[in-house]
Amino acid sequence: MIIRIMLILSIAVLLAWVLRQRGSIVGEARTKLIAIALFMAAVLAVLFPEITNDIANSVGVGRGADLLLYGLAVTFLASQVIYNRQRNDDQRKLYKLARKLAIIEANQLGRNQELHQEKS
């Protein structure tokens, strides 16, 4: 019994965090709807574990716990891929910014300006 309360409480806290988030994230409303749906599914799964068993059986998996584990594995890998992609994008933006900075700095250096005047 205690575990059920703990599980429901922790997902409720997570949901509250997601719903409280404000900002300019595109599709924010959609994210919130998905979070609410996930929360309800999670609460149902905690209160009535036999539901996950039934779903598992219907797709050919023995136990509901196994089905959850498989789903978790796929979700974990997907989130790693997405995270990596975002990190690469961020790195490209950072490098672009650093490049701009380096060129501006080089243009301002008196030494570089003199060198260029000597040549032209």
Binding site: V81, A98, L101, I103, A106, R111, N112, L115, E118
Partner: protein
Amino acid sequence: MCVVIPVWNEGKVIRKTINDVLKIYPFVVCVNDGSTDNTAAEILKTKAVLINHPLNMRQGSALQTGIEYGLQFTSVEYFVTFDADGQHQISDVVAMHKVLNKGQHDIVLGSRFLGKSINMPRIKKILFKAAVLFTNIFSGIKLTDTHNGLRMFNRRFAENLNLIFPGMAHASEILDKVGRGKWRYKEVPVTIHYNDYTNTKGQSVLNMINVVSDLLLSRVSR
């Protein structure tokens, strides 16, 4: 003519490399890619332009920085990418310049397999040949050497080149651009001098794996 030299911790040799180039081409842009040795001080002793990256962003990024700096000056017609470690010969650049001056090509690429490789270790030879095979399959252009740091291209190509792979994959990235954009290219034989210094600093086996995976993955996701 703008000679771009990306430099990372080459304090021992960079001054000699720059001065050799300056004997013939006066506009040398050195991109110091966050070196932790005396590289910047050594560059300041020469007549080359110094650009300091605020952090280490790796060779492809450094090339892009040097090219963007050079593009600011409208008098620059041609760009050269040149390695800092002294493995390239300025006489080869002169030969490439003559080819480009005929106006029939947008980019000329150095090939060590058409030219000479002095003291090239066998493992490197095998790796480079494998890279050639791989790149020829994927970029759709036929070359004898795909990972040669010595290249010369015109302003139009430089303006269109927007290198986004930070690391060593820029070599394949450039060829990819050449293949897709229908640029007119030509290979020119060049001599590469291998010595103990270039061998310890050059591309390693692990690096090659990175190059391949970067390129393959770029096709799946971007």
